[in-house]
Amino acid sequence: MEPINWHSVFFLVFALLACGFAVAVLLTSNIVRMAFYLVLSLAATSGLFFLAGADFVGAMQVMIYVGGTLVLLIFGVMLTAQGPFISMKTSAGEWTLGIMVGGLLLAVLLQAATSIDAWQPQAVIEGDARPTATRLGMGLLGARVDKLDEVDPVQRGGMSGYLLPFEIVSVHLLVVLVGSAYLARPKKRAQNSSWEGLK
């Protein structure tokens, strides 16, 4: 018997969990259960990231996606989850149309994914994964240490790293923070608000 490839086994487990809970998100109509399944699906995906050698991205996925985003989502769910809204049924016609179009899209994507030989399994993965955190951090700071040893000048492009996008994203997050706090501010009655009285 061939030796079991543990990487593949764990890939199978995490992939089935991720896809299974994603389908569960689609099929359930209860909004809180949807959020619960989404948490599990995203957490399983972070397992896939760890398997692909992306340890830092996997940890970020757990921290930001699963932790941050979904706590936010659950907040929203609970603020709006009252009787009539908790499960809104979709009509059969929409289901049929959605599944048909989705199925076609899936068929196209699967065809594309399996048709290219270079993407097929290449070799047995040997050894422990090289940690990526430092290289990613240096990349975000504008120094691509992973490309320093690249001899081919064509492949040495993008040496300046991601400092500018990083800064833009930082400012963007600040704007989002302020903006969402503004959007979600409590509604004041016109006669109660102070500036209305000053007019």
Binding site: A22, V23, L26, I31, A52, Q61, M88, L136, A181
Partner: protein
């Protein structure tokens, strides 16, 4: 092929990414609850992330020049922007709920001619 003994390649990750993407897209299309649509968006972004990480991985295609670390960096940006997107979208949904007392996206039709 036997999944227990053969190594996995980029194809396998792409299949998972495709399933997540399509599930999310159908979720966005069929859910009437605005928060359900949001969750669909999260799934779509997550499916895209799986592809980025797979193409950037140095273990799935040893020796072949992929997009390298760029894949993981872009995945990081996607995660950050997804968090930002969720915060803003949630604020919009709350505002919508305050104004219409519902989160049914089909009821947002004032601009319809």
């Amino acid at each position: 092929m036997n999944l227990l003994t053969d190594p996995v390649g980029i194809t396998h990750y792409l299949i998972v990414g495709a399933i997540l993407f399509v599930t999310g897209a159908v979720c966005m299309a069929t859910k009437r609850n605005a928060l359900g649509v949001l969750m669909g968006i999260e799934l779509v972004l997550n499916g895209a992330n799986v592809n980025f990480v797979a193409f950037g991985s140095e273990y799935l295609r040893p020796g072949v020049l992929g997009i390298g670390l760029d894949g993981q960096l872009i995945a990081l940006f996607v995660i950050i922007l997804a968090a930002a997107e969720a915060a803003v979208a949630l604020a919009i949904v709350l505002n919508f709920y305050n104004n219409h007392s519902t989160v049914d996206v089909d009821r947002a039709d004032e601009l319809k001619g």
